[in-house]
Symmetry: C2
Subunit: 510 residues, 2 copies
Amino acid sequence: MAKNEKSAISPTRAQDYAEWYQEVVRAADLAETSPVRGCMVIKPWGYALWENIQREMDRMFKATGHKNAYFPLFIPKSFLEKEAEHVAGFAKECAVVTHHRLVEGPEGGLVVDPEAKLEEPLIVRPTSETIIGAVFAKWVQSYRDLPLLINQWANVVRWELRTRLFLRTAEFLWQEGHTAHATEAEARHETKQMLDVYATFAQDYMAMPVLKGPKTASERFPGAVDTFAIEAMMQDKKALQAGTSHFLGQNFSRASEIKFQTKEETYEYAWTTSWGSSTRLIGGLVMTHSDDDGLVVPPRLAPSHVAIWPVFRGDEGREKIVEYIQAFANELRDVALWGRALEVEVDMRDIRGGDKQWEWVKKGVPVRIEIGPRDVDGGVVTVARRDRSPREKETFTRAEAPAKIRAILEEQQRGLFERASKFRDENTRVIDDYRALGSFFDKEGGGFALVHWDGTPETEVKFKEDYKATIRCLAEPPPGVAWADRLLESGKCVVSGQPSARRVVLARSY
Amino acid sequence: MAKNEKSAISPTRAQDYAEWYQEVVRAADLAETSPVRGCMVIKPWGYALWENIQREMDRMFKATGHKNAYFPLFIPKSFLEKEAEHVAGFAKECAVVTHHRLVEGPEGGLVVDPEAKLEEPLIVRPTSETIIGAVFAKWVQSYRDLPLLINQWANVVRWELRTRLFLRTAEFLWQEGHTAHATEAEARHETKQMLDVYATFAQDYMAMPVLKGPKTASERFPGAVDTFAIEAMMQDKKALQAGTSHFLGQNFSRASEIKFQTKEETYEYAWTTSWGSSTRLIGGLVMTHSDDDGLVVPPRLAPSHVAIWPVFRGDEGREKIVEYIQAFANELRDVALWGRALEVEVDMRDIRGGDKQWEWVKKGVPVRIEIGPRDVDGGVVTVARRDRSPREKETFTRAEAPAKIRAILEEQQRGLFERASKFRDENTRVIDDYRALGSFFDKEGGGFALVHWDGTPETEVKFKEDYKATIRCLAEPPPGVAWADRLLESGKCVVSGQPSARRVVLARSY
C-alpha cells in the first residue's frame, strides 16, 4: 500500500498487532466468537481454507502410508489416569461429562437429573493417545500387525479461558496421527518423517517458512520421550508453533498394554508416535501474510483464486457484460494449477462496486477482476492482484489472460514465501551477550535469537522471567539461509557461561 | 453362492439376521465397539467408505449452493430450552458437561473438582438447530443475506443405551444442513430439494432404492412443521430411515430471533430448514447388499475397486509375477470411472492365498484378481467378482482387461440396484384387510404394506401395538414400479374404516 493511503483494516499492524489480527479475521469473514464460551464459529470462507488444508495434508498422510479412522469423543477418566505425566498435563483444563439426562426442575425449566449420574465421568478428548492406545492394544497382536499407521480428523476440547480465534480456543479442529512400530528406530523415523511432512506443507502450501527441531524437555508433550515442532515467525516477530510430532517411546504402550509377538515369539511393547496440527494453522497463515488491507491467502490454499464482478454504466450493455464475465470465468475454470481447476467466484450481488472490491481485498482473494463496458468492447481483462497495491492494475487481452493469471498465481505463491522468509531472516540474530539479548527483546522488537544454552531448565526459567521468551526448538539448520551454520557452532551459555554444543532458537511466542 | 457350500459368515442371514449383521461388520473390518459405552470405533475400511460418502454428498451439497461451516460442539442448556418440543425430544438422552477440571482426590487418583462447576451446564450437541439459530440471528439482518445455505460435517451425541454399530450409537458422525429463507415457498422448496439429493445419492451411489415422502405428525423431528424422509428396505424386510429433511417453518427463527428486514423495510422472521444424514447410511449399505459371505460394496463407493495379489508356486518366477502385478495395477489406475481413477489394492502380505481371497470377499471389494505363473506366461488376467459365486472366474487378455473390469464395475453397480429394487418390490404389498395385515407381518415375514390410514395417531398406536409397525412415510409414487399407482388411490382406513385419500407405507423398522 502506498503511504498516506487509508488502509482497510483499523488498527494497522504497527498500531496494535493483536487487535489488527482480530480485525483481519473478522473482516475476511473467517470466524467469530460464539455464544459458547471459548468456542468459535468457523465461517464459510474460513472453513473453505480448512478444507483445502485438510485435503492437501490428507493426501500427504496417505502418500506416506497412513489410513484414517475415527475414535470416541469421550475418554473415561480411568484411561486418562493411565499415564501419569499425560493426565497431569490435561486434567486441569478439560470438559467433564457427568450426567446423561436433563429433567424438569421444581421451578420449571430443565435441570441436570441427579438420578442420571454416570458411574465414571467422561472427559471430552483433549487428545486421544489413551483411548486410541486402548484400541491399538486389541489391534496389535503380532509383528505382522505393525507398523500400524492411523490418522484421525476430529474436534478436541481443552478448557482455555483466554482464547483467540484460531490461535487458542476451547474447542478446535485438528488431525492427530497415532502410529505403533516394532522398533525404536522405526518409530523415531516416523516421528521425523511427519515433522518433515508438516514442514513441507507449511512451506509449499502455506508459503510459511518454518524451523524444525526438537523441543526442550520442559516444552515436551505430556508423556512423550521427545517432541519435535515446526516454528514460524509471525509479523510481530513472535514464534508460532504450527505442528508437533512426538516420539512416545514405550510410555503409552506400557500404559495401554500395546504388546506384540515378535518373529522370535517373544513379547514386546510397541514403540508409538503421535503428531498433530490444527485450525491454529489458519491463525499462522493470517499472521504470516496479511497486511493492513486485510487477509492475504497463499493462492495454493485459496478458497477462490479469482473474483470477478461487473461494473455497469447505467443500463448500457448489461447483458453483454454478464455474458462476457460468464464466458471468461469458464475459460479460467478450464485452467489447472497445482493439480486442481482454478476456483472462480462470479460476484453478481447488487452492491456498490467499490464495496465489492474492498470486500475481496479484505478476504484476500489472490486475483480480482472488474469487467466494465470498455473491457467488453476492447476484448480485454483488467487484473488486480492481492500482492500489489489495491489500485495497481494490469490489462491483458482476453486470449492471453488465462495463462497470465495462472502465472500471476504461481508468482504470488512464490513471492509470499520469499517475503516471509526475508522477514524471518532479517529478524533472526546470533546473540552471545546477555545484555544484548535484553536489548533485542525489549528495545529492538525481538525476533528469533540464536543463543547458546547450558541445557538446564533453570536457564529456561530465567529466559522466561527476564524476557518472556522460550526456547522454540533446537532447530535443524535451514537450507539456503546465511545464519544456518551458526546454529551448530559450539560456545558458552549466554546465561551461565557453561559449555554449549550448539545454539538454540529463543523467542517470544503464541 | 452355490447351495451346500459353507458360507464365510456365520450365522447366515436366514439363521440370525441381527447377528449376521454384526458379523459382517466385524469380518469386513468396518467398525467395532469401543471401551466407551455406546461409542464405536470406525476402522480404516469403514472410514474410507464414509470418506467416499462424504466426498460425493459434499459435492452435491455444493452444487446446490451450500457452503460448509463449523459450529460449537456444546450447546448451553438455555439454548436447548428455547424451543419447547425440541428440548423435550432431546433432554432425556444427552451428555451433560457440568465441570471443567479434575483434581487429585483425597484417596489419590483424580476426581471432578467441585470448585470447577460450570455456571450453566453444556449439552454435547445432539443436533445443532438452537446453537446455529443463535448464530444465524446475527448473520441474517436483511433480505440480501438470504437465502443462507449452510452445511456442517460433525459428530453428535445422543445417549442411547441399546446401540448397534452404525445403526444406533451414542456418538455418530453426520452432516446437518441448516438454511434460512425469506419466504415459506423457498424454504419448502429447499426441504424438498435436499430430500431429492438424499434419494439421488442413495440410489445412484449406494445402489439402495428408497421411497421418499413426508412422515406423520407423530414421527416428526422435534420442533419441525414437516419432516420428510427417505426409507429403504433391508434384507430382513424392515425399513431403514436413511436421511431426513425438515421444514421448520418459523418455529426456530422465533425461538432464536432470526429476523430480517424486507425490501419493503418491514421485519419478518426467516423460514428455516434442516436436513441430515449420518454414518447410519453405512449400516443401510451393509444390510441392503451384503450376503452370507460378507460385505458387498457398491463399486461407486468402494474404498478399493480391485484387489490383486500374487500366488507363487515355490520360488518359480516370483520377480516376474510381482512386476506383472505392479504394471497391471498401474494400468488399472489409469482407468477413470465415475469421475475418479480406479483404486487398486496390491496385497503383498505374507499370508496364505486362500485366506487372502476370503478376506477380500468379506471386505466386499468388487473385483479380485489372483496372479500366478500361468497368468504371467499366458499374458492374461483372471478376474473374480463380488456379485458372483466366489469360485466363478473369468479370464481376459491383459490388453482387454482394464476395459472389461471397468464394464464389470458398472454392471455390478447397476446389478446391485436392480437386485435390491426387485427385493423391495417383491416384498411390498397392497393390503386392505386388517387380518391380512396381521398375517403379512406375523407369518409371511413382513415388508412394506401399502395401507389406508385415517390420519389419526390412535390408529398409528394400534399399528405399533398389534404389529410393531410404523408409518414410514406418505411415499411419492416411485417411477417405474408396478404398485406405484396404488399409493394415490383413495379408500378406507384398514383399522377404522374411515375415508382415506391415499395409501401410506407401513413397516417394521430400525
